[in-house]
């Protein structure tokens, strides 16, 4: 039956994630952004919750409790309300493993899922979708894969690949014969070069790298899903839903900070919130954050039901992109000059928020 409220289990996980963020991230987020480092400890604490292991089937060493895009969305919102980079880093192995779980051949599942289950803290894999060019579109990839006997030869350039430097494997999105596929490349494949850490507008706590593929040859078995290929649509649906969840988290954080500031900050002898121009921005933030969350949950509900979520995930994602631009800007504007100073987190939300409309495939729901 239709329901707009969390179950006890969902509430519990939401609160756990919120508590973790409150403890390990909230106060450190500014420092993380300035230094470009996420404390290992914080990531480990999240991994200890075992959300990913829980989703992995028992036969591959997981708890076999099934995967819940809704739960993933709830968690991502909470983590992103702390720091977007942290949200991505903490949930990263899923970015590589979930596609394997969704579409991998039995052999791929046996290998990669079991690898992870055996060493959940070890370096795992990451996903490379974005390409550094104008008019980039995940449905119009310039990176190509060509079949050559028992191999695929990959060529192209990727960017914004999270933690590429330390990943053991990288899942590469590439065009193949007019369709799109995913290809698993070992980090030390000689045809793959990981470039120096990128400098970006936002997402500064997270190390992202460009990748170059030069006649990069991989065994045909490392095409995700084997010869049948993978469900690329569904992968994008899941990443779009995740981006929408992250956007919701960032906007919520900006909204809450601005709301509290507006109540406490006085000008002309009254709280600035007593002015409609400020109050109405707060009101709009309030309902648009809710709308973003509902759009995310709508897409996640479709995914959870096993339905095709193309429409819902796309709409959630473009809505989140538009609103993240608008609302995090409001957050800065409510604070005025103080919003322009990096010590106030609305500044970080503003920069990170701009990534929601631009970045692809940085998390998965």
């Amino acid at each position: 039956m239709i329901c707009f409220a969390c179950s006890e289990e969902q509430t519990l996980m939401k609160e756990t994630a919120a508590k973790l963020v409150q403890g390990a991230i909230a106060d450190a987020a500014h420092q993380m952004d300035e230094t470009g480092r996420i404390p290992d400890d914080a990531v480990r604490k999240f991994r200890e919750l075992g959300t990913l292991l829980a989703a992995i089937p028992e036969e591959y060493g997981g708890y076999g409790m099934g995967n819940s895009p809704i739960m993933n969305s709830i968690i991502l919102e909470e983590l992103a309300a702390g720091d977007m980079g942290f949200a991505i880093a903490a949930t990263l192995p899923a970015l590589f493993l979930m596609p394997v779980m969704d579409c991998g051949t039995d052999a791929q599942k046996a290998r990669h899922l079991a690898d992870f289950a055996a060493d959940p803290d070890g370096a795992c894999g990451t996903l490379a979708i974005n390409e550094p060019r104008f008019r980039f579109d995940p449905y119009d990839l310039a990176t190509t894969a060509v079949r050559k006997n028992g191999s695929y030869i990959l060529n192209g350039t990727k960017c914004f690949v999270p933690l590429a430097e330390t990943a053991r494997r990288i899942m590469i999105a590439a065009a193949l014969d007019g369709t799109n596929g995913l290809f698993i490349v070992d980090r030390n494949n000689p045809g793959l070069t990981v470039g120096a850490r990128e400098k970006n507008l936002g997402l500064n706590s997270l190390a992202t790298h460009p990748i170059t593929l030069t006649d990069c040859e991989i065994p045909a078995d490392d095409r995700l899903g084997g010869d049948a290929g993978c469900d690329y649509d569904r992968l994008l649906q899941r990443t779009w839903t995740a981006i929408a969840a992250i956007g919701t988290g960032i906007c919520r954080a900006s909204y809450e900070y601005a709301k509290n500031y507006a109540k406490e900050r006085e000008q002309f002898g009254e709280a600035i919130a007593s002015r409609q121009s400020i109050a109405f921005m707060i009101a709009e933030m309030a309902y648009e954050v809710d709308a973003m969350r509902l759009m995310t949950w709508k897409a996640a509900s479709a995914l959870e039901a096993g339905r095709d979520a193309q429409r819902e995930a796309y709409l959630a994602r473009i809505y989140a992109g538009e609103m993240a631009m608008k609302l995090t800007d409001y957050g800065v504007q409510v604070l005025g000059g103080h919003g322009y100073i990096r010590e106030h987190p609305v500044e970080r939300y503003y920069r990170n928020g701009r990534g929601i409309a631009i970045l692809e495939g940085m998390a998965i729901a």
Binding site: C3, Y139, K298
Partner: protein, 398 residues
């Protein structure tokens, strides 16, 4: 547990309501837009239908609103807003003209005594709140009700009364004690034909022209004492007034759903033209790589989805007995404004087809605009939301 999948019962209800709207309302939409104020006789077929989930007869006969078990009837608010969306996809002005489904009927159903239900339950009841000097400020009502023996004597002027011409009775808001402020405000049932009760004129409006909106003048209008809805007592606190206002927690999502239905009609028509012109709407390509029409379409559809979800949440909260004052205003604020933006953007995208009365797009734009105005303008909704989330009083945040 979060689950936003549309339940089957709701999907099939939406589908049949859409058929009804497409078959009955849509074909006569233009006719009654042109014939402003003329009663749409085709709507008589709805007279016996409980289309908006409101009991239409006296309480004893009516389906229990509480399902008999002390809990509200399952999903009645959600079903209602879903129905409204479909009907307004057909035509909003006509939905507002459905017999015996006036705002006054809702008020009567909510608080009337059995005796009052007996007398008025089968009648078409309009609601008269706004005055020339009040607008969105329901607390500043100046129409007076003076007690004189076994009668009330009403004096004042009421504007923007929906179904003013067609209704049988009008629920009139008046103050029995101006010094008591909001607590002094009560509602009274005035029957058409009562001496001193005059329908002054009907308004000529931008849209929803099928709906008759009028002005009443009450000049020493005498009605029986029993025609008061609720208690005649003036309480010190404003609980009584809050009770009256609470009606709006239910009606705001309804209006928001009307906006959603109209906007969807506009979008559906635009989609049709896009399809005909060979555009691909596949929810896949990056917005930077599609045509300008497609991008606008996608973004509008996203906003439409947001409108509907906010409406459904507010309705679901009412169905699950949660206080939804803020969420009702959120739905109304978002849908009222966005409905205007979507319907007018569609006219722009449709080009010549959006300016000609050969098509309904221009009408949807006119109809939609009222949804950001009546039952509290967008500005009032933002105030309600802001006061709530900021925890500020009406005095601190005016």
């Amino acid at each position: 547990m979060i689950n936003l999948e549309t339940p089957d019962y709701l999907a099939s209800m939406r589908s049949s309501m859409n058929n009804l709207a497409a078959g009955v309302l849509r074909p006569i939409a233009r006719k009654y837009d042109a014939a402003e104020h003329e009663y749409p006789a085709e709507l008589d077929m709805f007279r016996g239908m409980q289309i908006l989930g409101r009991p239409k007869k006296k309480k004893a006969d009516a389906p229990k609103p509480d399902g008999g078990n002390g809990k509200p009837k399952k999903g009645i608010n959600l079903s209602t807003v879903a129905t409204i969306e479909e009907m307004c996809w057909g035509d909003a002005g006509l939905l507002l003209s459905i017999p015996n489904a006036g705002l006054g009927n809702a008020a009567i159903a909510a608080v009337a005594t059995d005796e009052q239900l007996e007398r008025f339950g089968g009648k078409w009841a309009a609601m008269a709140i706004t005055e020339p000097g009040s607008g969105s400020d329901s607390g500043s009502i100046t129409t007076t009700a003076r007690r004189d023996g076994g009668e009330w004597v009403l004096n004042g002027e009421k504007i923007f009364v929906t179904c003013a011409d067609r209704c049988d009775i009008v629920v009139v808001w008046a103050t029995v004690d101006r010094s008591a402020g909001k607590s002094g405000i009560k509602s009274f049932i005035v029957e058409k034909g009562t001496p001193g009760f005059k329908l002054e004129h009907l308004e000529h409006k931008l849209g929803i022209r099928a709906s008759d909106t009028g002005t009443f003048v009450l000049d020493e209008c005498r009605i029986p004492f029993d025609n008061i809805l609720g208690s005649a007592e003036v309480k010190k606190d404003t609980e009584g007034f809050k009770g009256v206002m609470k009606t709006f927690d239910n009606t705001r999502p309804m209006v928001a759903s009307m906006a959603t239905g109209i906007a969807r009609a506009s979008l559906d028509f635009t989609r049709e033209k896009l399809d005909e012109s060979g555009a691909t709407i596949d929810y896949k390509r990056n917005l930077n790589n599609v045509g300008s029409l497609e991008k606008d379409f996608y973004l509008m559809e996203a906003h439409l989805e947001a409108m509907r979800l906010l409406v459904w949440r507010a309705a679901w909260m009412a169905d699950t007995e949660q206080f939804n004052n803020v969420e009702a205003s959120m739905a109304k604020a978002k849908a009222g404004r966005q409905g205007t933006l979507i319907t007018q953007k569609c006219c722009e995208l449709l080009g010549p087809l959006g300016f000609s009365k050969e098509h309904l797009a221009e009408k949807w734009m006119r109809d939609s605009k009222i949804m950001d105005i009546f039952e509290g303008t967008g500005q009032i909704q933002h105030l309600i939301i802001a006061r709530n989330v900021l925890e500020m009083s009406g005095k601190d945040l005016k």
